[in-house]
């Protein structure tokens, strides 16, 4: 049985726990500290804002990193996770932008919604997203699957043709939510589902299991637990993934190498690859949804030194023992974690959207969903 000392007395203060932890792990901590000038965070409380509900994917991800960062940041500060839910992450991030100080004692988790609300110029947005300083980006693939009643073939291309022919009913959260990339993909392929909006992930999956929806998608974090059983018992059939970017090219998702990507399907159906403005918009959505799925950031004007400290700690955490557990693996999937400059690259790519692409996206939202700004 594996009982860690730190868990025996949850009611005991965090600092006392840390003391025990330091005593137990002893020398092991030394390697995390790079030999540069740095701010010592010992005895400090770092506030981590997670703009989604307790229990959400972002919270599990954020909490995992909170544990890792607590251990590997210089001075082993205590990290307090605060969930400020609302407005598709806008409320929490607005608060972060307004109140966080660039002293390394405030960090935030951002996710797909944070980007879309910003890029689509949601009037509630009060944060300047590009000024944030990212230090970690965790990618997550997406799998689109259909019910075996709607998609009867073993061939994904054939199945997509069937869905174009017989539009399924499809439940989603909303056109400007984190579902946007998948809705865009359907639209580009020519699948025109009958949409039912306002549903959470859990509700759409339940509706799918009951046979009320013919089409659904899930983050790969849910694959083993929720989607694979449906595929195994013959309820669901994978259609395509959004793919994964490696060295500037979009390849098949490393967790599902047998399933074709959206781009492959598009080419097979249309006889030519997706290109031009449509590719540009789709790629921007892909960058946000897959490559920059979950990120951790420091506020604007944080010094390079502090950002580097956090990046180093995140890297040490990813390589540390605590991230080797089954739970951690299930939280992060098999995807490579990007820290420091790599995270910055992903962040910048996610924010890149030309005015032309944005205009196209607005037109698309208006003509398909009657959403106007």
């Amino acid at each position: 049985m594996n009982i860690r000392l730190t868990n025996l007395w949850p009611a005991v203060s965090r600092r006392a726990r840390r003391g025990v932890l330091v005593a137990v792990t002893g020398f092991g901590l030394g390697f995390a500290a790079p030999a540069q000038a740095q701010t010592d965070l010992s005895g400090e409380r770092v506030n981590m804002i997670i703009p989604y509900q307790e229990g959400s994917g972002s919270t599990i991800h954020g909490r995992l990193f909170a544990i890792g960062l607590e251990k590997h940041l210089p001075g082993q500060p205590t990290i307090i996770v605060e969930n400020i839910d609302g407005g598709g992450s806008v409320r929490g991030i607005n608060q972060f932008a307004a109140r966080a100080n660039p002293d390394g004692l405030d960090i935030a988790a951002i996710a797909t919604g944070t980007f879309f609300q910003y890029l689509l110029k949601d009037p509630a947005v009060e944060y300047d997203l590009p000024s944030f300083r990212p230090f970690l980006a965790s990618p997550f693939g997406l799998l689109v699957y259909a019910s075996t009643d709607m998609a009867t073939s073993d061939d994904s291309v054939e199945n997509v043709r069937q869905l174009i022919e017989n539009p399924p009913i499809y439940g989603a959260s909303g056109p400007t939510s984190s579902d946007l990339p998948v809705l865009l993909s359907f639209s580009l392929l020519g699948i025109k589902p009958q949409y039912v909006f306002g549903l959470s992930n859990a509700e759409t999956r339940a509706g799918f299991e009951r046979g009320e929806f013919g089409l659904n998608y899930d983050n790969m974090a849910s694959w083993a637990q929720a989607v694979k059983p449906l595929v195994d018992d013959g309820t669901a059939r994978p259609l395509f993934t959004l793919g994964f970017e490696e060295n500037g090219k979009i390849v098949r998702d490393p967790m599902l190498p047998d399933v074709p990507t959206f781009l492959e399907i598009y080419e097979a159906i249309n006889g030519k690859p997706l290109e031009g403005i449509e590719y540009e918009v789709w790629k921007a959505a892909f960058n946000i949804r897959v490559m920059g799925s979950k990120m951790l950031v420091l506020p604007a004007d944080t010094s390079d030194e502090i950002v580097a400290q956090y990046a180093d700690a995140a890297e040490a955490a990813v390589e540390g023992d605590e991230f080797k557990t089954e739970a951690a693996q299930a939280t992060l999937g098999e995807y490579p974690q990007r820290v420091g400059a790599d995270a910055e690259t992903v962040f910048k790519a996610s924010l890149e959207m030309s005015d032309e692409a944005r205009a196209w996206l607005f037109d698309w939202l208006e003509s398909e969903f009657d959403v106007s700004r």
Binding site: Q53, G55, T176, R205, G207, Q225, D370
Partner: protein, 663 residues
């Protein structure tokens, strides 16, 4: 096969009874009970607190702790509901209706022990159901689609007929107000904002805690203060806890039926935990021959909802564990917790983690027993709060109400909305509008609208061809007819005096109804600028509300002696009791002071001032009250990591940051 299941069950029980497991379960129970005591903090807050400790923990221990916690928050939330008339949590809303009147009659201990014992029995029933669920659950859950969910919500709404109070039109209009409050925020179908006044606070809707506290707490606190009384009008505790146990045994059939309702509704999608106690309450009223005592202190009105409240935890675990689909907010967190400790809920759970399934089942049962034992032991001493002069209790209670409301979203919006809803509640109580109907409307609004929209999108008219839908629909119709046939149609002789006295303030009563109507018209005007799917539901509700109100105004002008129509509980007073609004001023000092110097300073000062000038305590007593509040704040800030509303001048008082950092 059977033998192996049995074996798993025994092994799991032995594991749970080992010292470490038991210790963790006990810790979970303790945290759950403590958190449940604070109104507005429930299983969700508790889970959030223990989440950081779960990473890397042994799954069995973590499970024992999580289940211990989530099973007991709805046990202890009863304390607040019964003793002070403030809903202690979403599963103890209905308990207020009869529990608090019992406390006022000096039978707090009886009401509490009846509540605890019935919630324990309910909890054990839920665990039992869970243990047979993995054979039966799947076909049942797969049969309840969006169409059936809609019918369930409609069915729940017809139970409002039972809770409308003497005047049906008033009750239904109250329900419409609740439904409208519940549509505030982004529309499900179009994501357009309704009545948010461009505030981000309202864009996600008003939190349930804020509505429940405002609508119940304010009017009740003011009511007791007005009469300068103790909560227990009898002045003594009376009716010990044995009586409560006897009550439960006498009404075992209610316990069984309501446990069943709780567990089933908890397992089914679409209704959610915060409606369950209302459904149970409605059911008890509906099936009782003598309805005259309900709302005035009928012990059955406590037993029913409390049995359902704890049974729902076991029920809600069924979809959570076997499908990976959370049945409630707490369950969503539990799901997150399970993932964290490396257990993947869903179908594999039954085949590969049978031991854990039984560990969970036993944990629920044991947690309920432990939680009840502790609560029953505490019932008698805590009940003493009802015999202390209320002016000494009120300031602490108010601090708690404001602090709890603020935990909903941690914005000033929480407090502003609390006050607004509170003022509405004061009028509704005074003029005999059903606050329970408002709350049930509020809870059901988003579910009703969503289920309506989804069913129409997915099924269209086919909805009425689905057998289960039709069955539920017929049940709803029967329940409605039943409600209608069972009510009086004219003022009884006993109510004559009140009717006559109330005629004196007819202007106020008509005025309030007209204000409600004006707001309805204004809502319609603003709504029509949105897209069809965003306005169709709230506009229909507004139209209904206007119709009910118009009918009432018609009756009031004719001075019709319809039951409950012309009612003013403050009319005909001899002028010796202060009016509600002077006392409202006393309440508002707390948020006003907090806005200036921050809650953390305002609360002790407020308690000091209140105890000195209103409760007329000496300096020593008042000061020690203030110190107690300060100590509580420090504990809450550091152990539960609660936050306090910040004030305008707070930054000038540096010590406030220090209070957060004591640990």
């Amino acid at each position: 096969m059977d033998a192996t299941i049995f074996q798993y069950a025994i092994e799991a029980l032995l594991t749970l009874l080992s010292p470490t497991h038991f210790l963790y379960l006990f810790m979970g129970v303790t945290i759950g009970l403590t958190i449940g005591l604070i109104p507005g903090l429930g299983g969700i807050a508790g889970m959030a607190i223990i989440m950081p400790f779960l990473f890397g923990m042994d799954p069995g221990l973590a499970l024992a702790m999580m289940i211990g916690l989530s099973s007991t928050t709805s046990t202890s939330d009863t304390f607040m509901s019964v003793l002070v008339g403030v809903p202690g949590g979403s599963s103890a809303q209905a308990t207020v209706l009869d529990g608090f009147p019992l406390a006022r009659q000096g039978m707090a201990a009886r009401a509490l022990s009846a509540a605890f014992i019935s919630s324990m029995l309910g909890g054990i029933f839920g665990a039992l159901l869970l243990s047979i669920a993995f054979v039966l659950a799947k076909p049942v859950l797969l049969a309840v689609g969006f169409g059936e969910q809609l019918m369930l919500v409609v069915f729940a709404l017809t139970l409002v007929g039972m809770l409308t109070g003497p005047s049906m039109a008033k009750g239904l209009a109250s329900c419409c107000i609740g439904l409208l409050l519940g549509t505030i925020g982004a529309s499900q179908a179009t994501a357009e904002y309704r009545f948010t006044f461009d505030t981000i606070y309202l864009s996600d809707g008003i939190p349930l805690v804020v509505v429940a506290l405002g609508i119940f707490a304010f009017p009740e606190i003011i009511d007791v203060l007005r009469k300068h009384a103790r909560i227990s009008e009898a002045g003594a505790l009376g009716g010990g806890w044995m009586q409560g146990i006897r009550d439960v045994l006498r009404h075992w059939w209610i316990v069984l039926r309501c446990s069943f309702i709780g567990a089933i509704v908890g397992a089914l999608p679409g209704l959610g935990g915060s409606v369950i106690d209302w459904i149970a309450y409605g059911h008890v009223v509906q099936t009782s021959k003598d309805k005259s005592r309900f709302g005035k202190g009928d012990i059955r009105g406590v037993i029913g909802p409390e049995s359902a409240a704890n049974a729902k935890e076991g029920g809600a675990l069924i979809p959570t564990l076997f499908f990976g689909i959370p049945g409630s907010g707490t369950m969503a967190l539990l799901l997150g917790g399970l993932v964290v400790i490396g257990i993947t809920p869903g179908r594999p759970m039954v085949t590969s983690h049978m031991d854990l399934v039984f560990l969970i089942i036993w944990s629920i049962a044991l947690a309920n027993i432990l939680g009840t034992a502790i609560s029953v032991l505490l019932a008698k001493p805590i009940s003493h709060v009802t015999v202390i002069p209320f002016a000494r209790v009120a300031p602490f209670l108010l601090v708690m109400v404001f602090l709890s409301a603020y935990q909903a979203t941690r914005e000033w919006g929480d407090l502003i909305t609390l006050v607004a809803i509170g003022v509405l509640g004061i009028f509704m109580k005074r003029l005999g509008w059903s606050r329970a109907a408002l709350l049930i409307g509020f809870v059901l609004a988003p579910r009703l609208e969503a289920a309506l929209y989804r069913s129409v999108q997915i099924y269209g008219w086919d909805l009425f061809l689905r057998p289960i839908s039709v069955v539920i629909m017929v049940l709803a119709a029967i329940s409605l007819i039943y409600a209608w046939r069972n009510r009086a149609h004219s003022v009884s002789d006993a109510e004559r005096g009140e009717y006559e006295a109330s005629l004196g303030t007819l202007g106020v009563q008509i005025g309030f109804t007209l204000i409600v109507m004006a707001v309805g018209v204004w809502f319609i005007a603003t709504l029509l600028q949105l897209r069809f799917l965003a306005w169709v539901f709230p506009v229909s509700v507004c139209a209904l509300m206007l119709a009910f109100c118009a009918w009432m105004v018609f009756g009031m002008i004719r001075r019709a002696p319809w039951p409950g129509l012309i009612t003013d509980t403050e009319a005909g007073g001899d002028g010796s009791t202060p009016g509600s609004f002077r006392l409202l001023g006393w309440i508002l000092v707390l948020p006003a002071l907090s806005y200036l110097i921050g809650f953390i300073y305002a609360a002790p000062l407020y308690v000091l001032g209140f105890l000195r000038s209103k409760a007329r305590l000496g300096w020593i007593g008042a000061l020690s009250g203030a110190v107690v509040i300060l100590l509580i704040e420090i504990v809450l800030a550091n152990v539960l990591l609660l936050q306090f509303p910040e004030g305008y001048l707070q930054d000038l008082l540096p010590a406030s940051r220090f209070i957060y950092r004591l640990w």
